[in-house]
Symmetry: C2
Subunit: 264 residues, 2 copies
């Protein structure tokens, strides 16, 4: 046999030229095609063709189709972490210093929502939500690839958002109720990725890719702005309604808490 596939671990500092170029192109193409069809639906030949590479190269560089899929999610996790990293760190520090007031929580949350939304709507080859689609597919039918993006990116984003929600409601970020509320809040954002086709039809927009990029840009920014408003309104409303936030003496906690363990 010629050369065994280079173990699919992360490339330490090795940044040569020819091979890495091919790897990049393959990941790029794979990201696009895996987002349209899924893992089983995507054909290796199609990916190779889109990357202007030979079919054998995917086996050569990534060991297998799954290996390439894996690599795609490594990149997704890295990209997401890089985009959100600074904000997350800032929020964590402010939280540790007990310095998050209500108005600050609102502005931090709005910025986080906007950044996150713009990221998942932009970080892809086409104007389509490639990254978002890939993640959602893993959410509804997880494979080992989900661990990568969850542990390295989704989890911290979720936890950080929970810090802001908890700060505003003067509650514990680890409270199951706060976590559920945080999840719901992030859902307002995610739904524009997951239920893309519905909002497209409801707004009477042409099929994706069919409208001029400049217009698409503006639609995206419009939604981002409304998302900020929704987030602020949600917090304001929750505080006004004064629903139970501390789960300890609450029935809900008694339901979820005993199960709660192994939070890996």
């Amino acid at each position: 046999m010629p050369t065994p596939s280079p173990s699919q671990a992360a490339p330490p500092p090795a940044e040569s030229n020819r091979g890495d170029r091919a790897r990049e192109r393959l990941i790029d193409a794979a990201m696009e095609i895996f987002s349209e069809r899924n893992l089983e639906g995507a054909r290796t030949r199609e990916i190779a063709a889109a990357a202007e590479q030979n079919v054998a190269s995917i086996s050569y560089y990534f060991g297998s189709k799954e290996g390439l899929y894996h690599a795609v999610f490594e990149r997704i996790a890295s990209d997401l972490r890089q985009t959100m990293g600074a904000q997350i760190k800032e929020i964590e520090q402010l939280h540790a210093a007990h310095a998050i007031t209500r108005p600050l929580a609102v502005s931090l949350l709005k910025r986080l929502m906007r950044t996150l939304y713009i990221h998942v709507r932009t970080k892809d080859s086409q104007g389509n939500g490639g990254v978002g689609r890939l993640i959602v597919r893993e959410q509804i039918a997880p494979t080992p690839a989900f661990d990568i993006v969850y542990e390295r990116a989704i989890r911290v984003v979720h936890e950080t958002t929970a810090i802001l929600v908890a700060a505003y409601l003067e509650a514990d970020p680890k409270d199951p109720i706060i976590i559920i509320r945080t999840h719901a809040l992030l859902g307002q954002l995610l739904v524009f990725v997951t239920a893309r086709e519905t909002i497209r039809r409801r707004l009477g927009l042409p099929p994706f890719g069919k409208l001029p990029p400049e217009t698409e840009h503006r639609v995206r920014d419009t939604i981002a702005r409304i998302l900020e408003e929704q987030a602020e309104a949600q917090l304001v409303g929750l505080a006004a309604c004064n629903f139970p936030t501390i789960a300890s003496p609450d029935a809900l906690h008694r339901v979820i808490s005993p199960i709660q363990q192994d939070p890996t």
Copy 2:
């Protein structure tokens, strides 16, 4: 050739015995397997085996694998419509009579959210969100099957929800901003279907299917209650924040409106 496949149109009143039984079993099994793997990922042999039917029967009854997939979505649409039909009609009538006050809008919305959530969490063979997963997959990568469930179910639910949001904010249910806000609101619900794995891990719950049905029941009801609260808080907050709701003199409308046409 033996018998050509009976055209895959809806069986008018024909409700015989032997054949329809097989059809039902096939649809049941297909619903489950299509929700785990997707259209391409599911194997006809596996579906047939789960239905205790021969492989050829799927070609025989539905013409093809796609035909069966189609039939699955016909049922999904029917089920959803049947669950939501009464509430939708009631809301439409109240709206036509201009009888929706703010408190009424809140209670109608809460009931709608709860019913919808319970439906997508319950209407499946396992305790898993089979229906939800199938719909989400179609949202992120629509096939002709999406038309069925959108036109026959999703659209009316979305429009009806928009009526309630608009009523509370004293705005036009057709206002693009209201539609976007409605979409975000429904996203709070959908995220518990689409980002299932994330909320599971964040709550430290065991893998789905691994926890006793009684507990799962209570978790479901807990989330449903919080969703009601979130919806109420969202409306209250939006009214308090007094964001622009009428799009006419707004920049957003100038963005979206000129594209808006062909609302099929």
